[in-house]
Assembly symmetry: C2
Homo-oligomer: 355 residues x 2
């Protein structure tokens, strides 16, 4: 047990525009601070699986009071959701060997201190599901899809639903949840491969590649929703939002989950095409409700979600596609790839198998 | 009674950019079509008072499916809210001499046909209030303020409220309603005179001239709301919305009533500064609900509003400032003035006194 060594990925400097490999650095293995791990209420874990999520991009920017969680600090280890195995625990209820999910570090081993240690969730092996699912369908993205769709969108059977970034960690589930509820659901994505996945794997009724509509996103939507959109699950913002507003039905609802097209704009960058908001006038004429949300506000509903979704996964009614890369050295590139749409499905980094 | 003659104001051509006097024309007096007035269910009225409202601007544009009521047709009479006196009626319940409010034409006399004739509302002389109030505090703008503030904003006593275009037909009432409810309320307007009115006449706790903040609207708001804004009553859009989003509190609410800064942008005009929507990211991080509305959706609440507001007006707890011009020939200029902020208070055109 002694002489554990851990590599770690740090943020080197604040990011403006798109993140690159130069913004992060994988530091060579160094001794794990096992004294800290022995402190009351702390847990030492071996990380098995890390999650790459779009919300991490605003955390890489110079703090602007614009995001709901604290910015990363240059020089320190990047943190995010992950799955880990307990090596040593001074926390009641967690013992060596236990599998947990929660916020961990981008490193081989993490010392998780209070209060974060107490927020780790023990994984139920009886579910028999892949560990990586705890960063996806059973983790933040899955619960985000559930809360955002079922609560914020307030959908009804028979309504029309549009999902952008629809093959991503959240979008693929929103589409399946909408279909399970009896809605007509269309998704957009950025490649033929992803569009095929939407239709053939996730059961979207229709899907399109937003890069292949000659810039006429409003027309692309009009074709698929001749009578308009009741519910939009917003993951991207910018031009897509503008086109959706023009195609919403009266009394439509928009759940604002993400605005990934905005995250990588440099400060002061006009990019007017991406940013036009003239169509906000439709909020009035169509009496649209547009509501931002984050899943931690709704965490009391997580047990309800889990009880609902696990049987659906086991029955095959909900499937989940992951894009898995291997090893900590691949983590920065995987995160960067998210913002260029390189991932197909939920982006995961696998570090190790449980023992 | 015979040989009634009526002048009328027509829209000459669709408007792009700001409307000018050239877009409208006052046609000389011509015979009123009294045969049409005699048809079953029709009402002939003499117009006493016309209303100029921002919602009329989108109706002057080439139809774009963008607005919730039909566009005006070039060559035909402009329509809008007004107060009128019945000259002849073939509608049960309305008799010559009755005073009514509702949608009428910009002309001396209007023949109002079914189904619009049936939507005229008889004025209750026992209220003893100025007739023009039926286009303002007792009409569409007043009811808009009530529904938008009390229902869409869902305010609580002690919350902080910001109102833009705060001396206008709707804004001045939102400020007073917010104060009556025990909220802290700040307004913005475009001149010193209006700012004085907000504080000294309407009882806003604070107010500022948005033209005199050196372009730093976010800073102007931060000064007045150090802990943030719970409720924003949106009348203008553009830069102001951007600044407000940066100053909202978590779980804040925005009622989108109007976006007057957007209405006069020519098609394709970038005006990027007015249109930036980057701050929509705050919708997520602050979990903001932004909801458009129009008052006709809530008309079942009008009796409740009237029963509530009339005693407040009589007690002097709610006051209403109007900007009244005289005569039909002044109507186009009054409407144009709205979009340059020339009006101080609700813009009304007085045509005649009741007989």
């Amino acid at each position: 047990m002694a002489e554990l060594k851990s590599r770690r990925v740090i943020l080197k400097d604040y990011v403006e525009g798109y993140p690159t490999e130069d913004h992060m650095e994988l530091l060579p293995a160094a001794d794990v601070d096992e004294a800290a791990a022995a402190e009351e209420g702390s847990v030492l874990v071996k990380n098995l699986c890390l999650s790459c999520d779009p919300y991490m991009r605003p955390k890489m920017a110079r703090p602007q009071e614009q995001w709901y969680t604290e910015a990363y600090v240059p020089g320190t280890t990047i943190t995010g959701f992950g799955v880990a195995q307990v090596v040593r625990s001074s926390l009641p209820g967690l013992a060596a060997g236990d599998l947990v999910s929660g916020v961990t570090g981008w490193e081989d081993y993490s010392v998780i201190k209070p209060p974060f240690a107490g927020q780790l969730t023990k994984i139920r092996p009886e579910d028999g599901l892949p560990l990586s699912y705890y960063t996806g369908v059973l983790g933040m993205p899955g619960f985000t899809a559930y809360v955002g769709f079922h609560r914020i969108c307030a959908p009804k059977a028979g309504e029309t639903v549009f999902v952008s970034a629809a093959s991503g960690a959240v979008g693929q589930l929103v589409g399946q949840f909408a279909r399970l509820m009896g809605c007509y659901v269309v998704g957009s994505a950025g490649s033929k491969e992803k569009v095929d996945l939407l239709i053939n794997k996730f059961g979207f009724h229709d899907a399109f590649n937003y890069k292949e509509e000659g810039g006429d996103l409003a027309g692309a939507l009009k074709k698929r929703f001749p009578d308009g959109i009741d519910v939009y699950f917003e993951n991207v913002g910018g031009k897509m939002l503008e086109a959706v507003l023009a195609n919403m039905k009266v009394h439509g609802r928009i759940a604002v989950c993400g605005l990934i097209s905005q995250y990588n704009l440099a400060a002061g960058e006009k990019g007017a095409e991406e940013l036009r908001a003239r169509n906000l006038v439709y909020l009035i004429s169509k009496r649209i409700r547009m509501q931002g949300f984050v899943e931690p506000d709704h965490k009391h509903l997580y047990p309800e979600y889990r009880a609902w979704v696990v049987p659906h996964i086991k029955d095959g009614k909900v499937v989940y596609v992951e894009d898995v890369v291997e090893g900590l050295d691949a983590a920065p590139g995987a995160l960067i790839g998210l913002f260029h749409g390189r991932n197909v499905g939920k982006q995961v980094v696998r570090l190790a198998n449980p023992q």
